[in-house]
Symmetry: C2
Subunit: 558 residues, 2 copies
């Protein structure tokens, strides 16, 4: 009866399920914890004023002596962007392939964490002892080179985390998916598979990056003037194809946008980008060359208001203009929520007179997704043949769709775990069940503040954004409570003051009479005075305007 | 040489070009003005706290004696929603078909404008004398019955305004596009065509509404429990098909969501919806029936946070729950900007355990657009064969694409006018040119306020929404300028106060020492005191937090 002392395998997400972004997965066996990925996500539209969002890692900091390290699958922000914040509170080794580590180091340098962080560069052939677990890797194909999936050998069996992947049969840059290595893992047996659900709603197969190259070259060839191409800075395969198109159409290339410049520099340095000598030119040199001898590689494929492309479209870029007749390629599909930004940028480019290639990659041919579609997800499931399946990387509906795909290839419904962040799946003696929850959530970062903006602050920002604020100040006498000065009403974001003088004067009379009435009734606790002023004024303003501004009564005493 | 006295035809948009929504077009000849449509649009994401947006009609109010009436093409919000506001300042006759007028009257009733508005119900065969112009109409097919296009016969020739249209060869409810009438107009000659550009970016043809009916019926037949279907309240064709599906699958139907209830009631009353006796039931009766005998027609196809579907998905609807195993059909494509809302609603429905049919109509089959695609737009151009072409109804890029389609069917580039709101096209003796601009723009409506929220108010709301506000109050002595009370600092939406006591105390010290320093230097104008306090505090807070809250210094004097 020694069974009750057998340790268990616990798997959970601290970020990345029920959402897109901030990926962070935890595999624990007894006293050993391995973390896979450490991403950020961009704020939802109701997180006003927030810059970025990272996972709540309190489970990890409470168990810091058990954490053997953070293994990173690839160098995208939603997989590495949380590191500068997390490593400040959890100084553990970070493992990643060469390009991934190059991108991580750029971040750690900016955050002054490079010196104190133990960084271990791995390859797809590495084998790591992480406590009682052994990590091996397999090459995957994704929209950034040097991506890997992870296989963690645990006493309960192999846990496989795919990272982000697709199965591109004609990849660029030799970044093929290592089917043989994956098959070998599948043969050895997989107790649990965690697999990328990003495109689980999309039927069929995702297109090949190589087809994009042909399309881009075609546009370059036909363009009579300059070509501006915007894509994700991290899509080094795409950037290589832009370079190749420049070479075959004898154009020089200039790179603009901070992240694009950084990535091109790191990737070339590390040998992931092959740039012919003399091809790259400075933005200042562009105007010295004939228009059909130049291409411009830029950030801003999501229409981000501060990006290089948007600034060029608005003619507010310091170094570069777009001219009538230039061709602009937006080689990306808008992320949900960004459609309006992209649309506006296209409008502005067209107003200048540019020829713009935009829209879904399926129509333009200049973009394909980096994530596998339904048939590829089934392929991964069939290769790994896991006992248990945990779809990851996706909103709830995508996880559910991925779950249905798993059922369709023969995984029993009860062996599929659709989890929220913090939900644990425990496996003991080969049997999985839902365990208790660990703390998980969003840590909001606003400026330098980490976690100092919570629900109350966000609720106030929301309120302020809708109808503005009225501040009511009055100075009372300490002796007898009479009004010495005020009430003064100052409003911001409520009404156009010059047009609403009457309204604000009337508001002032209401506050004054409310105060006088209360004093006559000998109400003199501040809290009560404030509540009455707030209520009377709020009621009046709502009747007059149907708006509910925040009302902030302030009493000074002299 | 009498030519210089010849009057001219002027055409312009007060809303609807360079944007989606708030359609309002003006055709003027000499002293006669005809307005086509009077719509609203929903606020852009940077119009914080705004409810709706209507056109600036100052040109019309300044020329009110010339305005012969407003002709409405169909009953959608973006064509009629501005009427309750516009008619308050411009009491002119309104012309519309029977259903269109029914929907308009519902709005005017709510706004207490029914009595004082002259309403003339027209048919597709009507002929109206509007000053020197004669208006005739032609039936179009669109996602609401009783849609028409307008032909205005002017001394310069026929001006055709298509309204919204598609060419559905197998329409529902006999709402066919009247090709013969259109051809007759085209034969007579068209000096200028204004045509719907909504789907100008979409290749091919738009699907037929009838195919949607077959698909919906199929889902109804297969569903083992209740079916909930959400679509646009105004899509009466779609609603008819839901009713038909209920009939053929022997389900009762209940209708929820205020706008859906209103439209179903008006459309049935006017004979545009044919509801079998006894089919409609009250929401309260749903639970008395077997689950496979019930369907629920609901608003909320855009995931709007306050809509019936969203409230059901969150289990906060007063009358209706969604149960595990129910089928939910979202028969609409998300409008750009709404994807996240729809996604969230789908997530919540799936968490309940509902089977959800969602996504692009091209995949689900339960939705088609009401607007013609590129081949249909070319068909309209070929039927009307206009001398001049003004693409309308669309963002700039859509207008441009429509312009390119017009070129492809043989209209000369110089005869195509891509205009902004307020740009005039003048035609005199058959020759068109760009004229001067008339005032045009957005009038923002926030609660009861029309136009009292402008750029300054919106800029303040934006600022407040990002980093909140700090109010700094101090009471000074009238005699000697010394501080009698304060400075007090109150913040909202800036930081979580309990976690930031130190920061706010330090901020207080900085304000105090700034004030003391200024007093020692005999600076005592309030404006100067305020500016110094604002600067010192702003600098400190930015250094500490990298945030820039609004700072509102208030000085009281006793």
């Amino acid at each position: 009866m020694s069974k009750k002392n057998i340790d268990k395998l616990t798997i959970f997400a601290l970020g990345g399920v029920g959402e897109i972004g901030k990926n962070m997965y935890v595999v624990q066996y007894a006293n050993d914890i391995v973390v896979v990925d450490c991403g950020l996500k961009f704020p939802e539209e109701d997180m006003l004023g927030i810059d970025i969002v990272i996972p709540d890692i309190s489970y990890l900091t409470e168990n810091r002596d058990k954490v053997r390290g953070i293994v990173i699958t690839h160098g995208h922000e939603d997989h590495i962007g949380g590191l500068p914040y997390v490593l400040k509170n959890l100084n553990v080794p970070v493992y990643g392939t060469r390009l991934t580590m190059g991108l991580i180091e750029m971040k750690l340098k900016e955050a002054n964490l490079l010196g104190e962080t133990k960084r271990i560069v791995i390859t797809a052939d590495s084998e790591l002892k992480l406590g009682c677990m052994t990590a091996t890797f397999f090459k995957t194909n994704h929209s950034i080179p040097d991506s890997v999936g992870v296989c963690l050998e645990t006493p309960e069996g192999n846990v496989v985390h795919t990272g982000d992947f697709k199965f591109d049969q004609t990849p660029v840059n030799e970044q093929y998916a290592d089917l043989h290595q994956m098959a070998a893992i599948g043969r050895r047996g997989v107790i649990a598979l965690l697999s990328d659900s990003t495109n689980a709603e999309r039927p069929g197969y995702t297109g090949s990056e190589r087809s994009v190259g042909a399309e881009i070259e075609d546009v370059f060839r036909k363009a009579k003037q300059r070509v501006v191409i915007a894509t994700f800075a991290s899509n080094i395969h795409r950037i290589q194809q832009v370079i190749d198109a420049c070479e075959s159409t004898r154009r020089k290339l200039t790179v603009i946008g901070r992240s694009m410049v950084n990535v091109v520099s790191i990737a070339s340095e590390l040998g992931y980008l092959h740039v012919p000598d003399g091809m790259l030119i400075e933005p200042e040199e562009v105007n010295k060359l004939a228009a059909d001898r130049v291409a411009i590689l830029s950030t801003g494929s999501q229409g981000e208001p501060m990006s290089a492309l948007t600034r060029m479209a608005r003619s507010t870029h310091r170094k570069m203009d777009i001219l009538p007749g230039d061709t602009v390629i937006i080689a990306a599909t808008p992320i949900p929520g960004n459609e309006r930004y992209v649309g506006r940028t296209v409008d502005e480019l067209m107003r200048i007179g540019a020829h713009v290639i935009y829209g879904p990659g399926s129509i333009t041919g200049v973009h394909v997704s980096g994530h596998g579609s339904q048939e590829e997800l089934k392929l991964m499931l069939n290769i790994m043949r896991p006992k248990y399946f945990i779809p990851i990387h996706g909103e709830y509906r995508m996880l559910r769709q991925h779950g249905m795909l798993a059922e369709s290839v023969g995984i029993a419904r009860e062996d599929i775990f659709i989890v929220d962040n913090g939900d644990t799946v425990e496996i003991q003696e080969g049997v999985a069940r839902k365990g208790s929850k660990v703390p998980a959530g969003n840590v909001l970062i606003d400026g330098l503040g980490v976690g100092d903006v919570g629900n109350i602050v966000l609720r106030d920002r929301k309120l302020l954004s809708q109808d503005g604020i009225l501040v009511v100040v009055v100075t009372l006498s300490k002796q007898d409570g009479t009004i010495l000065s005020g009430p003064d009403i100052i409003s911001r974001g409520f009404v156009y003051v010059r047009e609403s003088e009457g309204l604000l004067e009337e508001a002032n009379r209401i506050v004054t009479s409310t105060l006088h009435r209360l004093m006559n009734e000998n109400v003199n606790e501040w809290a009560s005075l404030k509540t009455h002023v707030k209520d009377a004024l709020g009621r009046f303003l709502y009747e007059q305007t149907r708006r509910r501004p925040m009302i902030l009564p302030i009493i000074m005493e002299v």
